[in-house]
């Protein structure tokens, strides 16, 4: 067994929360730079210019890139030979609370009915997968409400197939229009079950924007969907242009013979996530 100290996990999580909210990931920045150069509309280029300036300023001042520092989402891959005395969930939660407090990050979590703010951004949303070995990998994502609200889960009929999937995704982005802060990134979960499709869709958003799916068939599907979504012409912040979507990331899992679950998790352009490994 490998013992990992809860305090070390908390400290790393706190650092990640602050860092991810103040430093735009390099792959996202490269897309902004590309958009600033290549976007077809002047209004769209101006948005990219502002977003690059915003990223520089956030890095210098440690102000959050976006005031919506999100609900704190964690995807954990925990080796079966790892033990965390005191508890992993508690360690992550305490780190998150400290990071959001000390980093002057916004606390955006509230009771769904009374709408009373929980005050410390709890609960952390933690997904744990047990994997072989003695490593512990924690990925953190700051997931804003505006783009999350534009996300959908649907249960298609198997006969609808890839054409039905594409139609649903393209219509979803069209209906969302300027609301989720385009250019968006799409995490698409195909298969699984009603609860599993969105879980893999969100996890797909942790991939680098410029990576290529190892399965060439899925890589081709991602490229095809990206082209169709960008043909909508919604553009940066809905002002028109060729950059409606920066990347499509698809996760596929087997599903019931009766079902074709589909989850579309919309991510705004401020795609803030980091990971740490022990």
């Amino acid at each position: 067994m490998k013992e990992i100290k809860a305090a070390d996990i908390s400290a790393a999580v706190a650092r990640m929360c602050v860092s991810a909210n103040t430093k735009l990931p390099d792959d996202v920045r490269r897309k902004f730079e590309e958009g600033f150069k290549n976007e077809t509309t002047e209004a769209g280029r101006e948005i990219f210019r502002q977003l690059l300036e915003n990223a520089d300023l956030a890095f210098e001042t440690k102000l959050p890139l976006c005031q919506d520092c999100g609900l704190a989402i964690f995807y954990v891959e925990m080796g079966e030979d790892v033990v965390v005395p005191g508890g992993l969930n508690k360690a992550i939660t305490e780190g998150m609370v400290a990071g959001y407090k000390d980093g002057y990050l916004r606390k955006s979590s509230c009771d769904p009915l009374t709408r009373k703010n929980t005050g410390d951004n709890t609960p952390a949303i933690i997904h744990i997968d047990l994997v072989p070995g003695d490593k512990l990998k924690i990925s953190y994502m700051a997931k804003g409400g505006g783009s999350e609200n534009m996300s959908r889960v649907t249960m298609l009929a198997p006969s609808q197939g890839w054409a039905g999937i594409k139609k649903f995704v393209v219509q979803r982005v069209a209906e969302a229009g300027p609301n989720p802060c385009p250019p968006v990134i799409l995490g698409i979960g195909i298969g699984g079950t009603f609860e599993y499709a969105p879980k893999i869709a969100k996890k797909a958003l942790l991939r680098k924007l410029d990576d290529t799916h190892p399965d060439p068939k899925i890589a081709a599907m991602e490229a095809e969907l990206l082209a169709e979504v960008n043909a909508l012409g919604i553009g940066p912040m809905g002002l028109g242009g060729s950059y409606t979507c920066l990347a499509v990331k698809i996760a596929v899992e087997p599903c019931h013979i009766a079902s074709l679950p589909l989850a579309v998790n919309v991510q705004c352009h401020s795609a803030r996530h980091e990971e740490v490994e022990f």
Partner: protein, 181 residues
């Protein structure tokens, strides 16, 4: 597309010259208010109570800023998505609200109210909260402190960069998606 520097409170004359696509640099006092604050404002109106600020000529910014670090008037402060305030906006517009500031689409009722009562909807750049905070020179909570980030703040802005998304004549800036069907 024209560019204007305007000061709050906004007048009918200010609103009448604006068209969708115009750039406005807004200066003066604006008020923050988003989901929970709008509900509370509506409750006050229902109860016949005064609002925490004068709606005549007012501009409301749909924002829930991040906490102000030491030495700064405010944290990151970009717009939130506006449609969630659509249920409340027509009433506020009919009572004198001249501008709302946010991002994303408005519904037909809000657009109709803007035409009828001469008001506009401004877009600020979503996800540029650090940058936009530079234009906010002062901020203080004036109501609903218990709402935390959703409290109503009186903010002083200087050359706050905005785009006219919906004008008072039915004009709209947002691109219509090219859907095949």
């Amino acid at each position: 597309m024209a560019k204007y520097s305007l000061n709050t409170p906004l007048t009918d004359a200010d609103i009448e010259k604006l068209r969708a696509g115009d750039v406005v640099l807004l200066s003066g006092i604006i008020y923050s208010g988003r989901d929970a604050a709008h509900k509370k404002l509506a409750d006050l109106l229902d109860a016949g109570q005064p609002l925490p600020f004068d709606l005549k000529g007012a501009s409301i910014y749909y924002v829930g800023p991040s906490p102000a670090p030491p030495g700064r008037p405010i944290g990151s402060a970009g717009p939130t998505t506006s449609y969630r305030m659509d249920a409340f906006a027509p009433r506020l517009i009919s009572l004198g609200l001249k501008a709302s500031i946010g991002k994303g689409k408005r519904n037909d009722e809000v657009k109709a109210a803007m035409r009828e009562h001469k008001a506009v909807y401004f877009g600020a750049t979503g996800g540029a909260g650090a940058l936009l905070s530079k234009c906010i020179t002062a901020s203080k909570v004036i109501a609903f402190d218990e709402l935390g980030p959703e409290a109503v703040r009186e903010m002083t802005v200087k050359d706050f960069p905005l785009l006219v998304i919906n004008d008072a004549f039915g004009g709209e800036l947002y691109a219509k998606p090219n859907l095949k069907e």
